[in-house]
């Protein structure tokens, strides 16, 4: 069977599965719509959290990023997993004990302030839409490449599927759909990795193959990789050019940001008990770690494969480079998407791939008659094209397409739900129309989800130029605003309303200001985005960690000089700290 037919079958079957689950798990109360009735088994919830968290970026882009960054890619690996320790130990059990529907609701209650709740809603909506636009874009790309439909059609199909299970099933539908999506995406991710690991090293376990010797030689794979890339003027794979402080700050911002992302936090409201919230975070990380420990292996193997495909012989020898006319089929196919491009600068009909930004090597390259790097490779190709590069059977490629779509849709659905819950529960029900019945609230929740899907689809089709840049925003804001305020709400009885609001606003304004100044989101950058200009040498990607520190500091100082929280709030904090008597998540 040809690839397109197989892909249609794989994607079609997975969609049928998601819709079937949505019909089976239809939500009929607000409790089911917002938190799946708080009856989800912790292992199942962990799996759903993993799918929720692992987005199109984790599935499609991360291994590619690592492939080109080498050690520098570690910030994503550690940053996006380490946050789960913070979630498990500092947030999840207490928020579960508190037992409400949304993150802003907790912030509003703990700091006895509608203003705090609304600031939290604004952060949440901004973070979530930023993210969702990227997911929808991912859906469009996967559809257009694998199903050969245009991006708009792909988007509309994706939106339709999310609409069915998010609007109909709410959190309950999304939870069980995400479990199915996790299974699809993890199989799709690991199967090609296992094949490639086996081909390259004879060891089928990617996590170990990565440190094994290359088949037919005594060289360790990473040593070989270091040698191959440095010969072409690139930085050694296992080191980085970034400063230690910047790596530190980015990792911290990603960890804390992960722990502060509303669509991740809310997943811990859906388990029955406090102890389940703790273990569920552990299970989530287990399921995430399966992909996150495979990704660096995929990155390294892909980089080695790509480099050796192009550089067929010794560097600088006349026949050492791939002849353009003899390039493999997968290159031809990806050229049509524009994600891979070749330009024969020196007109020799061969492809030269090297680091022409390295002055020393560029001089050497000139002696070989090379006139600049001729191959442009987009990060995103690495995972999607990997099965083709390794010449795996067509059904594996079809599976990867289904996996990529599953990763994007599961995250989009989780985000759309927190947006709709915040609008119907935090804004409408609590602020504007408090006398709404449960049935009406459920209906507004569904309408809000539907509208959010429409906006997300639009953002996916017309991505504002800043989508890639605002990812730093999403994490920075979560790290600098939501995370500290929740932590202080649990671990301090002294931090009060004034402190929390002042802290959140400080973190928010500082982090946003810094990113806008250097990245020029909405405006042209005020300052050049280079290491010399950065505060303490910290890039905009890592500045959320400074924003977080400022948030804590301001909140404590302001709380010291204003009135302590009322007694009933202090009692509430004591109650949150003890697991006993959690019960179901309840509305006021």
């Amino acid at each position: 069977m040809d690839l397109t037919t197989l892909t249609y079958i794989a994607v079609g079957l997975s969609f049928a599965l998601y819709i079937g689950i949505a019909i089976w798990a239809k939500a009929s109360t607000t409790g089911e719509f917002y938190v799946a009735g708080s009856g989800v088994n912790p292992v199942v919830n962990g799996m759903a959290t993993a799918a929720d968290w692992m987005s199109a970026a984790s599935f499609i882009s991360m291994a590619g990023l690592i492939a080109f960054l080498g050690y520098g890619g570690s910030v994503y690996l550690m940053g996006w997993t380490g946050g789960y320790c913070l979630l498990a130990m500092l947030l999840a059990p207490y928020l579960r004990k508190y037992g409400k529907f949304t993150v802003p609701e907790f912030i509003g209650d703990r700091f006895y302030s509608k203003t705090a709740r609304i600031v939290a809603v604004v952060c949440l909506i901004f973070i979530s839409f930023t993210y969702v636009a990227g997911q929808m874009r991912g859906v469009g790309i996967v559809f257009s490449r694998f199903l050969e439909v245009d991006i708009l059609t792909g988007l509309i199909i994706g939106m339709g599927i999310v609409f069915v299970y998010a609007v109909l099933g709410g959190m309950k539908g999304v939870t069980y759909t995400q479990v199915a999506q996790y299974c699809v995406l993890i199989v799709a991710y690991t199967v090609p990795a296992i094949f490639i690991a086996f081909q390259l090293t004879g060891n089928p376990l990617p996590q170990l193959a990565f440190g094994s010797t290359v088949t037919g030689s005594g060289d360790y794979m990473l040593d070989r990789l270091n040698q191959v890339v440095t010969e072409l003027g690139f930085l050694e794979y296992t080191t980085t050019s970034k400063s230690t402080i910047d790596i530190f700050a980015i990792t911290l911002a990603l960890m804390v940001g992960t722990a502060g992302l509303p669509h991740v936090i809310v997943r811990f409201f859906t388990v029955p008990k406090v102890r389940d919230a703790r273990s569920s975070a552990g299970w989530a990380l287990v399921f995430i770690a399966i992909l996150y420990t495979t990704a660096p292996a995929v990155g390294a193997m892909a980089r080695l494969n790509l480099t050796q495909t192009v550089q067929t012989g010794p560097v600088g020898s006349p026949d050492g480079n791939l002849v353009f006319e003899q390039r493999p089929d997968w290159m031809k196919r990806w050229e049509s998407t524009g994600l891979l491009a070749f330009e024969d600068k020196n007109g020799d009909g061969k492809i030269q791939y090297y680091n022409d930004a390295n002055a020393e090597f560029a001089a050497k390259a000139e002696q070989y008659g090379w006139k600049g790097n001729e191959l442009k490779v987009d990060n995103d190709i690495m995972v999607l094209a990997n099965p083709e590069i390794a010449q795996l059977p067509n059904w594996v490629i079809a599976l990867v397409a289904a996996g990529g779509i599953a990763a994007a849709l599961s995250t989009a659905a989780g985000l759309l739900l927190v947006i709709s819950a915040s609008i119907s529960h935090d804004l409408l029900k609590s602020t504007f129309t408090p006398d709404m019945t449960e049935k009406q609230e459920l209906m507004t929740g569904r309408i809000a989800a539907a509208v959010a899907i429409g906006i997300a689809g639009y953002l996916g089709y017309n991505p504002p130029g800043f989508v890639a840049q605002v990812v730093a925003f999403a994490f920075g804001l979560a790290a600098a605003s939501l995370f500290p305020v929740i932590i202080m709400g649990i671990f301090s009885k002294k931090v009060n309303r004034e402190g929390a609001i002042a802290g959140m606003l400080t973190g928010l304004v500082f982090t946003m200001g810094y990113i806008i100044a250097y990245k020029g989101v909405f405006i042209t950058p005020i300052l050049a985005n280079t290491a010399d200009n950065w505060l303490f040498g910290i890039s905009p990607e890592g500045i959320g960690s400074i924003g977080m520190v400022l948030n804590f500091a301001v909140a404590f100082i302001v709380s010291k000089i204003t009135a302590a929280p009322p007694q009933h709030i202090q009692d509430m904090v004591e109650q949150i700290r003890i697991p006993k008597g959690a019960g179901a998540a309840v509305d006021h």
Binding site: I66, Y71, G73, S74, L77, M78, T81, G82, Y84, C85, A88, M89, L90, P93, Q207, F210, G211, S212, T213, Y220, M221, L222, D223, T238, T239, T244, I247, F248, T251, L252, K273, V274, R275, R278, S279, A281, G282, L285, V286, A289, Y292, T293, P296, F491, E574, R577, I578, P579, K580, G581, A582
Partner: protein, 86 residues
């Protein structure tokens, strides 16, 4: 088992979390970032050690830490009789 003071329960809880977070910090920020160059001089089975901690080791340790936390907290809950009814 009797009810002991909530303050003591909370103190032990915080102490456990702090201990685990120190390990969390050491394997990720310590081994993976601050001392990566020193550890990279050591190679084990094809991995430079600092690189391994940054890309694999820290993730394994994170998983282990959460499950240690879960186990210890469940024990602590029972000791102070604040566990939820089964």
């Amino acid at each position: 088992m009797e009810d002991k003071s909530g303050a003591e329960y909370w103190r032990r809880n915080v102490k456990l979390v702090l201990t685990l977070l120190v390990i969390w910090f050491v394997v990720s920020y310590g081994c993976g970032i601050l001392f990566v160059d020193a550890l990279n001089t050591i190679s084990i089975a094809g991995f430079q050690l600092g690189f391994w901690f940054a890309q694999q080791g820290s993730i394994y340790v994170f998983v282990a830490l959460i499950f240690v936390y879960v186990r210890q907290m469940n024990k602590l809950d029972r000791e102070f009789n604040v566990q939820e009814d089964e």
